[in-house]
Chain length 342, copies 2
């Protein structure tokens, strides 16, 4: 830990964006470091998670309240327990100073958080891995692909935003499950990475003019499971390629987060869902929380033996967070994007 | 059986319709009564099933091949076994003259059908019931509502085309399951029938200018299961009203069968599917075929004790079939529409 410990630097959402998000929606401020009140714990932010969902929270209430101008920008963190209002609070929460916790206090260096809102992390190996394959990102891929998509060896799995935080883990899990895996990403460079580094059987850029034709060409047996991080055009293309009894895992809608007026859904809804007997299912990662410890053990073993890799894209310093989010929305990341705060 | 038994009157699909179907797409012809060839059985049509799906088959390949101009119009029938090419064929199929079978030979008085394509019907009570609550229509409601929708007592079930063949059975099954049931239909008269005769808690006409507002008002606790026979605007409204963890049963898309260019899907796809963690699932009735005998026994008992009612809308004579389908598309039926042929 370094730097001034008497002040708390924060990044605020200055105002809700209209259309495409840019850095002018944010501003920094410094306030006094908070003192923990009764039942609260003072924590110091180590890593912030930068996610497409950060943008979605600006659109309206989702599984959390909508953000408003003037709020500290919301986001998940890995933070370190510093102190509390009293020893009883720490004891009851099973925490000691130095413990690492997941905390939802947003883009700031310090926070005084009710102990019951902190989740202790059983750190194994690299701390940052608890924001990628060992954290919510990895669990999202696991719950979505294995519990909702339920791929069977030999089936074809299509993944959008395949080079992204969740997508790259989905690709790896689908390969481990013995599936043929097709990735969709936003540039030829990412597509090359998907095939060469991640082991996709093929990858197609959705920015290609002949995207649908190119995608169809690499899915000669159709698609059995489509892991949808995007919605929009890619979802429409996937619906056309789905096999009878196919499953579409609805994980996110990154194509629609930069607008307050989402475009209509694909033409195949609900016609193709009926005729192909598809299951189209949304989920959030909390639905699979009970499996998290077991899943972490599996993933730790897989990291150790090299069958699973953690792909992380770490940006340095709290002030870089707005740019890191804007660039993520433009497709700038490969793997899980994090901000290293302290 | 009456009438000329030497000729076979047929209704042909003269040409594929563009846009709204009318009777000019059909024409009648008379040909010689067919003689059953090896392995074939001569059957005489008793009842034809008139379904919204008849129109969908004109749009392209679904779970069956697309229809083409000049084809005998496709449709399911209850038919009577007359004779076969040889006794072995009947024996192997477990049939005797006079047996009732389900046959897919379309809109004609007679047909010579391969024995293996006939399904013997264990007739209980009224023959026509095997086309409504005891037949494919009833099984569709049963599989869709109970196996896909899985309503729990106390939940709210919303049903579109609720006065239709499948819809009226879904409403009855949802009430038996202890659910609050809201029906959507196309006229104030049908809505009154849904509440007064069928026992819906409320019913709303989708033709009302303030349809969404009216629907919302009668769903104060949201919607847990939406049984979708229509797609389009009603599906969009339902997506807005779905509760977390809700299920949308995709049974049909009657709003889109009169066009070769279906309209875009609702704006909430896939955004609301993600945030509300919905399951949106298509099925076809064949998926539940193994349950059919048991289901028939249950439904026969329920008909006998009055807890289930068969609502049928029978039109007289083969030549009335085109008009019966056109009028069904315009919302003319209440309950299951049949044509009585012989």
């Amino acid at each position: 830990m370094t730097g001034d410990t008497a002040t708390n630097r924060q990044i605020l959402l200055d105002h809700l964006p209209q259309g495409r998000l840019d850095e002018s929606s944010f501003r920094a401020q410094e306030v006094a470091r908070p003192e923990p009140g009764p039942g609260q714990v003072l924590v110091r932010t180590r890593y912030l998670s930068i996610d497409a969902a950060n943008r979605a929270w600006m659109q309206g209430a989702t599984y959390r309240d909508a953000l408003a101008g003037g709020d500290v920008m919301a986001g998940g963190s890995l933070s370190e327990v510093v102190t509390s209002n009293d020893a009883v609070t720490l004891n009851e929460a099973g925490l000691v100073p130095g413990d690492i916790v997941e905390s939802d206090h947003g883009w700031q260096e310090w926070a005084a958080v009710p102990a019951k809102r902190l989740t202790k992390v059983d750190v194994r190996g690299e701390l940052s891995h608890h924001m990628s394959v060992l954290g919510v990102t990895g669990l999202t891929a696991y719950v979505g692909l294995l519990q909702i998509g339920r791929p069977v060896a030999g089936e074809t799995v299509l993944v959008s935003a395949a080079a992204g935080a969740v997508g790259n883990v989905v690709v790896q899990l689908a390969r481990i499950a013995g599936c043929k895996v097709i990735g969709v990403a936003g540039s030829p460079e990412k597509c090359a990475w998907l095939v060469d580094e991640l082991g996709c059987d093929a990858a197609v850029s959705y920015r290609e003019p002949s995207f649908f034709k190119a995608l169809k060409a690499v899915c000669p047996d159709g698609v059995d499971v489509y892991f949808d991080n995007t919605g929009g055009t890619i979802l429409g293309a996937a619906l056309s390629l789905m096999n009878l009894g196919g499953r579409i895992v609805c994980c996110g809608v990154v194509s629609q987060y930069d607008t307050s007026n989402p475009e209509p859904g694909p033409r195949g809804v609900p016609g193709l869902i009926v005729t192909k007997r598809l299951r189209v299912e949304g989920f959030i990662v909390m639905d699979g929380w009970d499996d998290h410890p077991e899943r972490c053990t599996e993933a730790t073993d897989a990291l150790a033996d090299g069958s699973l890799k953690a792909f992380e894209d770490v940006v340095e310093g709290l002030d870089a967070a707005p740019g890191a989010l804007v660039d993520l929305r433009a497709g700038g990341n490969v793997g899980k994007r994090l901000v290293h705060v302290s």
